[in-house]
Symmetry: C2
Subunit: 212 residues, 2 copies
């Protein structure tokens, strides 16, 4: 519809210049994340690069994780899924993760996440997003399952492999039986795989098969 | 090196015109596969489209499956993996498939297969290659596990999802713990997943959970 509102700027509440500051922070963050990786980038360093106070970076973007999500144009705040996962007992992680992640992909915002995976696989900022997934998303789960004998890195990577495969077959290649399966049935079928990868027997190096 | 051979045509054994015939068959096959799908395309129809005898199509390309592999520039003859899988007892399918497929990806020819997956995911001839995988590669396994109560379609699709995920994490995103894992350990970790998807309990609809 052609209402008078259409002629107005899209961010009427902003002070003049605030968009420039926000963009300067994003540019500085993009360059530093790409150069130093997710782990070694601090809000303080990004603020220094952009010539602003760190408080302003927090004001515009929130946490470092949220700043990163803005840089790679992640359409979803990963915190939403992570909080669900945090609240789940270890022995129910598998089904819960499948249900939470697939429900997210199937949501309207999920289309953006799938587009991101597609461009990633096609050769986008692979290493940066991979580091982010490993540093933030999987690290939260890894720290819960790690023991003295097993740091859990392979376990979360195996879980990630199955979730990546569900994403590719359900949302990109659109393999009928996977694409058409209700999320509950998908969680029932795939959940036990993630559960075994995270807390069960994964062969050599896992609790049941540890070497002497 | 600049030997006289460099100046010669790359296919010295060919009769003049044979390359044109071969290309005409490829073009006809590409168009018909794209229009009719893998299942409904016959060698006879491709030959008719190209204005040649069906025997010539077989002569240049072999089976319909091999013709398709040429059309999508599949770097590997899938028959090689399929024969390994055919010779494996049902209860060892999981580990054998992981070992066979991952060994192939890790081989020099595998680089081409990974490039194909990458372009597929990025938006290439998705439906065509998906149909091929489902009609040929997975169909051979599905026909072995199908029962009166379960046609096995979901089972092979789930197995495909895990293999797609291993491909993406090991070869494309290069997630350290998966990329660095020797094929034997990967088969030990991931094999049981494929085995359960193919012959075990996958929730609702599987033998252990069939509805009344």
């Amino acid at each position: 519809m052609n209402t008078p509102d259409d002629a107005r700027p899209s961010r009427p509440g902003r002070r003049p210049g605030s968009s420039g500051t926000r963009d300067a922070i994003l540019t500085a963050a993009r360059e530093r994340f790409a150069r130093a990786g997710f782990d070694k980038t601090s809000i303080r360093a990004v603020a220094a690069d952009a010539g602003v106070d760190p408080a302003l970076v927090h004001h515009y973007f929130g946490t470092k994780q949220q700043l990163f999500a803005a840089v790679v144009e992640l359409p979803i705040d990963p915190e939403i899924v992570l909080q669900q996962v945090d609240a789940t007992p270890l022995d129910e992680l598998g089904e819960t993760m499948v249900r939470a992640v697939v429900s997210l992909w199937d949501s309207p915002e999920g289309a953006g996440a799938v587009a991101l995976l597609r461009s990633l696989v096609a050769g986008g900022e692979v290493s940066l997003v991979r580091d982010f997934l490993l540093s933030v998303v999987f690290e939260r789960i890894r720290s819960r399952i790690a023991t003295d004998a097993d740091d859990g890195r392979l376990r979360v990577a195996l879980a990630a492999s199955q979730m990546a495969g569900v994403a590719v077959t359900r949302k990109i290649l659109r393999v009928g039986p996977i694409t058409d399966l209700p999320v509950d049935q998908l969680a029932a079928a795939v959940g036990p795989t993630l559960q075994r990868y995270l807390t069960g027997d994964i062969g050599k190096g896992s609790p049941d098969h540890s070497e002497p």
